[in-house]
């Protein structure tokens, strides 16, 4: 399943080079080669380690990432250089390096994590570490574009939000696995109203509310929406109660309304969503340009390397991160954008399958939460860029430029691989029993 990458990525690189240089040669291929070789090496490393995890996860991720690499390679000259790893590199090179870090982390987790007890038994420790990191960011973080998301350690900056997402999922999975039966079956009756047993919900709610408050006050709306979605999904899967989801959605709508009244930056986002054309060169500028890009792309796209978005007026922002999906829409058309979403959907499908086959509640809840994280993140940013929901700044997993996002996404895939490896071993043990018979 990885073999098409050998053609796909170099082809994209070549098309981009021809379109931008106007010369009929393939152009530099080092980055494409590095990317493809890296993915094949990761595959062979898993095979060599005798890994029995889901065989489709890595090829899916590699294909999505391959499209992302083609896009970033194309955007690289327009965006300019960044100072990453203490070096002056263009963003495509930086991203390939981050892919290397991500793949290494994925392999370490997939092969190294033989036992999930480290995650399960120290869930409160993980939660506290997450909150500490969050508060630290809030107090000492650097503010970029109105949101305080970055911590700088020397030359390397990272976004703790991406990793807090992982820690939060681990904590909720541990908590729900421990108290699932109680949350599902125990009910307090208040006359005709049935409410869930609050004492059992409270510790989880408390930690969740703390996280949400800090995120909202840090003005990081996309992450807040993502965390909330993950939380509700996990709660629903653990309990099977629709009422939890209903109450959650109502609470969220109420919260959004209050937030839009209290905070100016939330109100601005919503105004820009309702009618971006009211102020097409001001508040609605990003949304309007993104919609134009999809319009120019049409069904089959303008062609690789021919997007106007990166140079549109010279002040379009976030073309390599939040708005990369708009560039995909313009260059590869609705057909290409749809393919990217379909690949993401297949990835979610595989993740939920890992959860279904899991032998214990913790693994199942962990797989559900991690998969929901990837799926919802893709959905939120794609829907935001096409103006289906208010635009919130988060990354498109495996496509957007950004080391923290890439590393966190690869850690998610590593955990899913580790869980599915254990599933396969358990299934083997069972098959052994059937063969021997009574």
């Amino acid at each position: 399943m990885l073999l098409p990458l050998l053609v796909l990525v170099p082809l994209g690189f070549a098309a981009t080079h021809i379109a931008t240089s106007g010369k009929a040669d393939v152009g530099p291929m080092q980055l494409a080669a590095a990317y493809v070789v890296m993915m094949l090496a990761a595959h062979f490393a898993l095979v060599a380690a005798g890994h029995r995890g889901d065989p489709l996860l890595l090829p899916l991720v590699a294909t999505i990432g391959g499209v992302g690499m083609v896009m970033l390679n194309r955007l690289s000259p327009d965006v300019g250089k960044t100072a990453a790893f203490g070096l002056d590199l263009d963003i495509a090179t930086t991203q390939v390096l981050w892919f290397g870090v991500g793949v290494a982390a994925m392999l370490a987790v997939a092969i190294g994590l033989r036992d999930d007890r480290v995650l399960r038994h120290y869930k409160y420790t993980w939660a506290l570490a997450g909150i500490a990191l969050l508060v630290f960011t809030f107090l000492f973080g650097t503010e970029v574009n109105g949101a305080r998301l970055w911590i700088y350690l020397g030359p390397i900056g990272f976004q703790p939000g991406e990793f807090i997402k992982l820690v939060l999922v681990v904590f909720i999975a541990g908590y729900l696995a421990e108290h699932r039966t109680l949350l599902r079956d125990a009910v307090w009756r208040l006359g005709p109203i049935r409410i869930p047993p609050l004492p059992y919900l409270l510790p989880m709610l408390a930690i969740f509310v703390i996280v949400m408050l800090v995120v909202v006050f840090g003005k990081d709306l996309g992450t807040a929406l993502l965390f909330f979605g993950i939380f509700l999904t996990m709660l629903f899967v653990a309990t099977g109660r629709r009422s939890y989801v209903l109450v959650g959605v109502l609470l969220f709508l109420a919260g959004s309304f209050v937030a839009s009244r209290l905070f100016e930056h939330v109100a601005r986002r919503i105004d820009a969503w309702v009618n971006p054309f009211a102020d097409p060169s001001g508040a609605g500028y990003q949304t309007v340009q993104s919609l134009y890009a999809f319009g120019r792309g049409g069904l089959f796209g303008e062609g690789l390397g021919q997007s106007l978005l990166p140079t549109a007026g010279g002040r379009f922002f976030g073309v390599e991160t939040d708005f990369i999906f708009a560039v995909v829409g313009e260059e590869l058309g609705a057909v290409g954008a749809f393919a990217l979403l379909a690949l993401a959907m297949a990835l979610v499908f595989r993740g939920l399958r890992v959860a279904m086959l899991a032998r214990d509640d913790f693994s199942a809840m962990l797989a559900v939460g991690l998969t929901a994280g990837l799926g919802l993140q893709t959905l939120i940013i794609a829907a935001g860029v096409v103006k289906l929901i208010p635009l919130t700044g988060i990354t498109f997993p495996f496509v957007s430029y950004g080391g923290s996002s890439l590393l966190a996404s690869f850690l998610i895939v590593g955990l899913l691989l580790a869980i599915s490896h254990r599933n396969a071993l358990a299934a083997d043990a069972e098959a052994g029993r059937v063969e021997r018979g009574p």
Partner: protein, 147 residues
């Protein structure tokens, strides 16, 4: 003239890129479908049990290590050979504990054993609801409830 050739070349490359992308997508879709069908077949064969016990530690190898025990709705555990789950261990009572599936959940109840029944390391004094993944200790035998 060369501009025209370049334009056609780019169009071909663009369509090739999208074409390969869709071939990959098709390959994924096919393997997802195949997987779904085989999962259905496997489910029909085994008619989805309600749970099993994985044996983590068993000093006398009865129940044998590494072989999960398939569970019925009511399982008695003890050193008496008439129990559904027979445990060969001097620290286990003749009729030690009952593991039952009631409604939607598994419950474990101690049957007045001498050395007690432990769930995740805590001794139980009344019927306790179990989650999948919980660890049972009976005598020196450790088992984990799985689905």
């Amino acid at each position: 003239m060369t501009g025209e050739v370049l334009r056609i070349l780019l169009l071909v490359l663009q369509l090739a890129f999208l074409g390969i992308l869709y071939l990959v997508l098709l390959a994924f879709a096919r393997s997802l479908m195949r997987d779904l069908r085989s999962a259905e077949a496997a489910q029909q064969q085994s008619q989805a049990g309600i749970g099993r016990l994985a044996v983590l530690e068993s000093p006398e190898d009865e129940p044998p290590m590494g072989r999960p025990i398939a569970l019925g709705p009511i399982n008695s555990i003890g050193r008496n050979v008439n129990n559904t789950i027979f445990v060969e261990d001097d620290f286990v009572s003749a009729n030690h504990a009952m593991l039952t599936f009631r409604g939607r959940s598994w419950f474990i109840e101690d049957q007045g054993s001498t050395n007690g029944t432990y769930v995740n390391g805590h001794r139980i004094d009344r019927p306790v609801a179990l989650s999948f993944g919980d660890e049972l200790s009976i005598g020196r035998v450790r088992m984990r409830l799985e689905r």
